[in-house]
Symmetry: C2
């Protein structure tokens, strides 16, 4: 994919296209996560937003769900199941009170995203390759390194709670 | 801008470019918000994510801060002040408990974005046009209609709390 982009640019086409294509360029180099063999997708932080959430308890984070172009299109249309090629990213940060707004309001008011927390997780749709897990491969990376096999063994059983929504917890936030 | 895109497509260039350019196409038609004269920017929901937050109290929402390309570049680099042309969007949704995860965990666990709430807000940087308000114009739209002048009179005084951060509360979530 990187080679294709280089050719496009070398060909004198639109340099601006690079910024657009990079996030969709699929999987980067690096170590593959266990069980499902997924590598950290390139440019996922630049993907469009599907939804946001706050997790309480031990997780205690603020999180965003991003999607590659295939995911976003399906999510916007509320179309299930997600098509092959879908990649959904879950990123998360510490849940931090914002001192400035507490001062202004006189009580805790705003909680904002701090440092990265609880790793980065991905769901990759490939209905043939991952047929035994609802068509989804799962991956978690902590500081860009794959989490253990034990972690990856927990993904599908939890997502089975939402089998009726193609194993995806989030809904598109309009 | 829409005309420029049409010409590009009619010219037989890359159709995929449309999806890339649309979010950067500036301000759409529609009624301008009072005081600052800002119209609802086109395609803002497709902009990249700067940060997420939860507001308590009367606001009681989950929110995402998105930025146009100029905003995102500056936010990633932590560069202040934001350059002219920056547009920052604040979208928000109701703060809804997720029944599925409460069932799985046995207690309230996940709070997710529900329906749109508290309008959509924008900060537009134009250091000359908005010189008297720190270089920023402010706008709020409720169901795509501009909020009242009274609402817009409150923007700058509140953002003055964070004058040292170029009047922007949020920080880029890495």
């Amino acid at each position: 994919m990187r080679r294709a982009i280089s050719m496009l640019v070398a060909g004198g086409a639109l340099a601006g296209v690079v910024a657009f294509m990079a996030p969709a360029s699929g999987q980067a180099d690096g170590e593959a996560a266990p069980i499902f063999g997924i590598k950290l997708p390139a440019g996922y932080r630049e993907w469009q937003l599907i939804a946001v959430a706050h997790e309480e308890g031990k997780l205690n984070d603020l999180r965003a769900i991003l999607g590659n172009d295939i995911a976003i299109e399906a999510a916007r249309e509320g179309r299930l199941p997600y098509p092959d090629g879908t990649i959904i990213a879950r990123i998360a940060w510490s849940y931090d009170p914002l001192a400035e707004s507490e001062k202004a309001f006189g009580h805790p008011q705003s909680f904002v995203a701090g440092l990265p927390k609880n790793g980065v997780q991905f769901m990759v749709k490939d209905s043939k390759k991952y047929a035994s897990t609802g068509g989804w491969g799962f991956a978690q990376f902590n500081d860009a390194k794959p989490a253990s096999a034990a972690v990856h063994e927990t993904c599908f059983s939890c997502h089975a709670i939402v089998t009726a929504r193609d194993f995806v917890f989030n809904r598109y936030a309009p």
